[in-house]
Amino acid sequence: MSTNSKSFNWEPVIGLEIHVQLSTKSKIFSNAPTEFGIEQNLQASIIDLGLPGVLPVLNKKAIEMAVRFGCSINANISNHAIFARKNYFYPDLPKGYQISQLDDPIVGEGSVEIEIENEKKLIGITRAHLEEDAGKSIHDKYDNSSAIDLNRAGTPLLEIVSEPDLRSAKEAVCYLKKIHSIVTFLDISDGDMSQGSMRCDANVSIRKKGETKLGNRTEIKNINSFKFVEKAINFEISRQINLLESDNFIEQETRLYDSQKDETRSMRSKEHANDYRYFPEPDLIPLEISNDFIQDIKNSLPELPDQKIERFCSEYKLNSYEAEILNSSKEMSNFYEKIAQSIKNTKLIAKWMVGDFSAILNKYGSSVEESKISCDDLTDLLQKLDEDKISDPAAKKIIEILWNENITVEEIIERENLKQISNEDDIGELIEKVIKENPKQLEQYRNGKEKLFGFFVGQVMKTTQGSADPKVVNKILKDKLKQ
């Protein structure tokens, strides 16, 4: 489906509901561990299984993490939060209800700032509440039957609901990345979308530009990567535009994004929408959160991405583009600061991390945590570069080898003969040799054809296989050619 040419008449209105798995050691209502990838059903306790007579006990760590998030988005933290039962039947929901929050969520209104095309924009956050995750249904493993894995059941989730403040798929992704960086900087989630630690539902509607009323919206459920969020929303926007421009109407419904076909399709319409019959959870007493508790958390908040970006600009003299990229994740940021402890040339580190290091991560689809190049290796490499022991092209080559082989920077330089020759005597000798071998060009140069300077540089580099320091070569060559 192609975006209609009249699309500029329409304004998309988007809100996100982001589910963040909190990285508590145990589940939100039981003491079973929350680790990912354990054999099926082995970390579901009798509470997670919903046995007759079991009762939930709230994990205090989950409250603390929710409050930390709330403080970092300047939200109102409720002194009195209650849990509610959300009733629906599904095999991977053992109790037949999910313990969640409806009224009095733990985190109230707040906001975050995003920057898109050099413009800053404030995105409102309506609320964030705690709830338990469901298990997983496995439909493709056995013939004629489905399997249930309840390991995930009871994992704490923070559901972050935004205002419908986003106006494009790009903004939505930017906002999602912002939330991602906040929760990872706060250490309340690993934010790993591929493992489902962070998932997102997008509410999308469109309206004529200038219109203030909201159009009928659709909700796209469970999107699990930044890329898919952008694609799913863009697809949905065009679909809605096409419908409205051909005089159809938008049905308020839940849709699913199919990443293989790159399309959204209807899951259930509003008429078939669940009535969740929320009511206060009688097995848990209302949560009283004291102002002291909130203040303590405020005082112990780590440096947040926005603050860190600002500090990187002033402390390391970086531009805001560099600072932002270096703070796109906590690991990236830590990586940078660790290297900056041993190398004074912080601009150089930034240039290489934003450039070639990020490029190789992208090339292999890897995150900083999964990087095959360790922080120490990168430090080694940049140090040699900073001390002019290797050249830029050599460094580029070394990065590629470091990624693919288990070998040190020193060993690569040795093996590939990449040591930069910067000794003036050595280079002078080489230059004399080159000049002697090219008397014709020397004569032409001395007769005024100065363009030939580049030819001599090329010849020197060729004989040294690129390992001569160009700065030194330039300087000495100029002298020698004059003689």
Partner: protein, 475 residues
Amino acid sequence: MSNPTSQSLIEQINLLEKKEISSLELTQLYLTNIEKNKDLNCFISLNDKALEEAKKIDKLKERKSLLQGIPLAHKDIFCAEGYKTTCGSKMLENFISPYSSTVFDKLKKSNSIMVGKTNMDEFAMGSSNETSYFGNVKNPINKKRSPGGSSGGSAAAVRANLCAFATGTDTGGSIRQPASFCGITGIKPTYGRVSRWGMVAFASSLDQAGIFAKSAIDASIALEIISGFDEKDSTSINENVPKLINETTSEMDHIIGIPFKLIEKINDYKVKQNFLDCIDLLKKNGIKTKEIDLPFIEYSLPAYYVIAPAECSANLSRYDGIKYGYRCENPKDLEDLYTRTRSEGFGEEVKKRILIGTYCLSAGYFDAYYLKAQKIRARITNSFKEAFKNVTVIAMPTCSNEAFELGSIQDPVKMYEQDIYTIPANLAGLPAISVPSGLINKMPLGLQFIGNHLDEGKILNISHEFQKITDYHVY
């Protein structure tokens, strides 16, 4: 020596302490009684290890608890590791619990002996014991009559000397009404006094475990053992449990509050007279009384029949045929699996209440039913709070009638009215006890005392005072 099984718990403890009887002998005597009284249908399952356990207990050199060696029965709502826990339902007919409830654990640790698990209304929903999937229990005093419900099996077992005491649960009167019908003492403590961990949930904000025994003193001993804070139950109260037997037998000055406006409305003059006679008797023995007003109490029943079904509709959602319990045969698809499992696995009364609860919580009805009921509940709680500013305990009948004939009440609303005097204490979360108060039509009746928050001691104390001057509890 008369048969020790007909003696009080305190006398039995005495015999065991003096080694005049062994736990094995006592347990054997109870098992014989159980065998002889099979027709009462008090038990859903028996503990075939009871004698073995009693033998082990007899070998212990020291007595670590008053209840050591005492045979008891558990309502089949308490999960007990390795034992069936059916909750009176086909849904859990073959459910063997992999863990134990706190109540079971505490009594087990006190070295008492469980003889079996008692019959009950399905998922504790009923006031006659007729909703049990395993057939109704008969009242030992008159086998044509109901033992009351939902803890009818436990009440009848204590009355028929099939155990020294028994556990029960009380959501709207399920301990006190059967205690009244069977002529024994039954106490429901303050909500949160006894842990609900491992007790199959009916209505979580109202459910509370308690004790059936022959007297207030007997009940105090067992109640003290099962009470106390439990970190596994977030609604359990973190307060020390006093020595309840001392509180029961100590000297206390009481002012009994009497809601005369409520008493005047009692239809059955015999019930009204019985109550007034009891109050007169207490007065004659120097106990002060005071008229109190309990506004909104007449709305207890409708409020209860919104809140309890609402909570039960969610609590019973877990019985879906997926993980454990009954599953229908050859389900076509998921929808069919759910529909038939729940249609076939639950009885009529349970399904009725799930439907009522689902309706009350549905979009568009929530405010009119659930929210309003909660407001009434808050008002009732407040009425009690006000009343307790001036009195130490409150007295009212346990039930508006004596045990009725099995099968005689077909109108569900009439059946729900059984709980009219017992429900207020559940709504307010207060401790309440029923003690035998004499006979009408040759069947026992109960007198109810309601206490303030955590005042189990006071209602046990006034009950003991009453039992000192009456012999209705002696049989």
